[in-house]
Symmetry: C2
């Protein structure tokens, strides 16, 4: 999506080699009008999938998920992170490692809000190694809901998460795919 690639080139900041900060429009300040355009694009990709629920993970997925959900006229469920394992009967849970924060979170969704009969689109801001996305996919499987696919704003395509998840049969739509990036040479997007 050219609009997004242009914005990343303009406002994205590469830090320490592998960190791309997009705090100016997505991850700290949210350019709501712009992010709604991303939501419209996700809707074009998944319009015929009978999506009735969007699943994301706190915190930075919530904005884009809500602005996307308006196009599907469906609710958002956001998975909650905690440091402590929650294996109660009331929740689906998965462990998600974060390389950015160098920790492991237990991620949970209440069984009340996801289950058989749901057609789920997962929305998240970043896809790199795919830990968060795999955790959310695992939760959808546990719930018995159908997975329509996953929509990701920015994919670091030089890492293997996206390839692994697509190989497992999940449809993944990334609005910008980064082939390589460095502080010296900037960002190169996939064709």
């Amino acid at each position: 999506m050219k609009l997004l690639e242009d914005r990343i080139r303009k406002d994205g900041k590469i830090k320490g080699g592998d960190v791309l900060k997009v705090d100016g429009f997505l991850n700290h300040m949210i350019d709501v009008r712009f992010v709604a355009e991303l939501g419209a694009e996700f809707h074009r990709s998944f319009a015929d999938c009978r999506v009735n629920k969007i699943l994301t993970i706190e915190s930075s997925g919530i904005g884009v998920a809500c602005l996307t959900a308006q196009f599907f006229d469906c609710p958002v469920v956001f998975a909650k992170k905690s440091k402590t394992s929650n294996m109660s009967d009331d929740v689906y849970s998965a462990e998600v490692a974060s390389y950015t924060h160098n920790n492991v979170n237990n991620v949970t969704v209440s069984k009340e809000y996801l289950g058989k009969g749901d057609r789920v689109l997962i929305i998240d801001d970043f896809l790199a190694r795919g830990c968060a996305l795999k955790g959310l996919i695992d939760i959808v499987r546990q719930s018995g809901a159908e997975l329509a696919g996953a929509g990701v704003v920015i994919e670091k395509a030089y890492q293997d998460g996206g390839a692994q998840i697509r190989a497992s049969g999940v449809r993944v739509v990334s609005l910008a795919r980064i082939a390589s990036m460095s502080e010296e040479d900037g960002i190169v997007f996939c064709d």
Copy 2:
């Protein structure tokens, strides 16, 4: 706001005396169409205040803030929580105690995204003792921005946060104000 009071009566769950869970439409599953109605109501209250930025705090403020921001056609800045104090020159910060989670968070906003010339509306899901709201107000003051006021979805009016903040001269609009609640007697709203 009668629409909201009805929804709280229908879907809110009182736990252990003082906890009101509204996970079914606001804090875990977000009923996006409904929450956008709350955003429209905040806009009616602050339409003439030349708001150019909405400030909230992760995680559960982000959804309502984004859906409200669409009516103001302005961006959202969400304050970030961390366990560790961040007193760098790049951020405004405040300490916020959470009675729900029984901890203290250091809350930060990058100086890049808030400053003189901004007219800020603070949006949050709950107001009880007012710790989060006071922290956000402090951050607005540090930044030199003007504060238009605060919009809160649910205020526990039997706690003193709202009264204190109003007494300090800040305009606070709460869409539902709870006079009392208990598992036995349910919820009583203020007139």
